[in-house]
Symmetry: C2
Subunit: 307 residues, 2 copies
């Protein structure tokens, strides 16, 4: 099965307590596509860049086997730019700049080969753009989407419409509470699923993630990293790894979803080990297997006799 990733390809300037990286390769689609490719599933990328985007970055994606036919270059403008500064604890950040640039007028026009993906993976974009893409490619696909506070606050109507066409929604705990108005996560999850998504994944940062699928809940731990260098792209790597696993195994049942959450978590844990996508670009299937084993050991509940 193939994955179509629709999202941003960007320049990021990132400050953390450990250093600073200037105008490096970033964007939700970049991380998601690279993560998906670790699974060796076909990954198609749909995004826009500007006249300033270097060919070397495109080649970095191609070298990992990402299909970039749908990566449009808009000669009229500059590439989407984001700058942010992480706080001391790395759990929170301030956005210093968001220049939409070519993203402001982007209307995805999918190549013919992109029009019937099995998994459609929507990175962080305006819900309206997410909606337009869904119309084109989502009809026969499993639609996996990510959202953010900004859209919940600013375009709630477009978001509500999009949610009705999303199969798997991936949001963080704060967003789940905000969307539902419920402080209790189990109730919040039920309320969010009532808005459309059959399956919900609630990311909890350093506390792991919860998968709500059918009547089951799966609690995935976070990998206990001693050195988090740069959290940028962790969520997008999760999304791409999740989608890539489902595409690779060709299944979307509860067991496959559970597996995909672990795969996504493992890939995200690699991403944060270096600035930008640097570490993710080098992750091998053997690395992934090793970390999946770590996740299994980390959360294995032993046999317990109580009486």
């Amino acid at each position: 099965m193939s994955v179509l990733v629709v999202g941003t390809v960007a320049f990021d300037t990132i400050e953390t307590p450990f250093g600073r990286a200037e105008r490096i390769l970033g964007g939700s689609a970049t991380y998601a596509a690279l993560a998906g490719r670790v699974l060796d599933a076909p990954v198609q990328l749909c995004a826009v860049v500007g006249r300033d985007f270097p060919e070397a970055h495109v080649q970095a994606l191609v070298s990992r086997g990402v299909d970039v036919e749908g990566l449009v270059r808009d000669p009229e403008g500059e590439t989407f730019f984001w700058a942010g500064r992480y706080h001391y604890d790395l759990n929170t950040r301030d956005t210093l700049a968001t220049h939409l640039n070519v993203l402001a007028t982007f209307q995805p026009d999918l190549p013919a080969a992109y029009r019937s993906p099995q998994v459609l993976c929507l990175g962080d974009l305006a819900p309206a753009v997410q909606g337009a893409d869904l119309d084109r490619a989502g009809a026969g696909a499993l639609v996996v989407a990510d959202t953010m506070n900004f859209w919940i606050e600013n375009t709630p109507e477009a978001l509500a419409e999009t949610l009705q066409r999303v199969d798997v929604l991936v949001i963080n705990d704060e967003e789940a509470r905000q969307l539902s108005g419920e402080p209790n996560l189990v109730r919040a999850a039920r309320a969010v699923r009532a808005l459309g998504p059959d399956t919900l994944i609630v990311k909890k940062g350093e506390h792991g993630a919860l998968l709500f699928c059918g009547d089951e809940i799966f609690s995935a731990p976070a990998y206990p990293l001693e050195e988090v260098i740069d959290p940028t792209g962790a969520g997008d790597s999760f999304l791409g790894g999740f989608a890539g696993h489902l595409a690779r195994v060709g299944a979307t049942d509860a067991e496959a979803m559970r597996q995909a959450v672990v795969v996504g978590s493992a890939l995200a844990s690699y991403t944060v080990e270096a600035f930008g996508p640097e570490r993710l670009l080098g992750v091998t299937p053997a690395d992934l297997d090793a970390r999946i084993d770590d996740f299994r050991r980390l959360s294995a509940v032993p046999h317990i006799v109580t009486a």
Copy 2:
């Protein structure tokens, strides 16, 4: 093996968004002892109450098989009283009143039968009192202790001394960061263990708990409850369940610790289902087994083939 629980027996007045309970049975030793008894380990309780403490409360403990020979009644004063109000999300609370009363002058004087426990379980008390008890009974015991922000801020020297004699420390993530000055939990855990405790458990509330034991980390999920009625006593129930399990199986290796974390988590998840110790008083070994099975299903990482 037997467990000696040293802590508070109290009156609690509790306000939550769901209601209010006035001067009900509370205290760290109450919850810990009741939780330990679900495991059918011998549990001895050392605490003080005042002239106002009803015999019916003592009988509630006795009816669950808690040894109350060490429960001292001080006719000179009133029972320790705590009042608190939980916020809307139930994750934070304000303390409205803390009347130490008879606790202010309490000096534990252990009955002869209490002097050689195998597990010494120290609930939330002043570190100085914890230290004095350790001198008496902790020499040959596994010492399991709980601490709180208040002591970290107010009596850091007494705390440091106590920590050197603690084998298993149970604190929350905020306390771990505060004690160590490290925002990263893995580094914070290493720094806290360097202060004395061989084994560290970091409680993360609705996100579960992390066990650091030997070179291993175990991530235990939280039970995803839809209705948390009153979080009071959850941490103490965890502590007592943890100690009770180790006493019951007569082991303190990494595997037993992992099991004990799940048992403690399961019992804590029952405690919060009702005001005060009401639900915990009725938990049967079968209830405990059922919830342990839920924890296992909740966190089971399936077999994953990546390539």
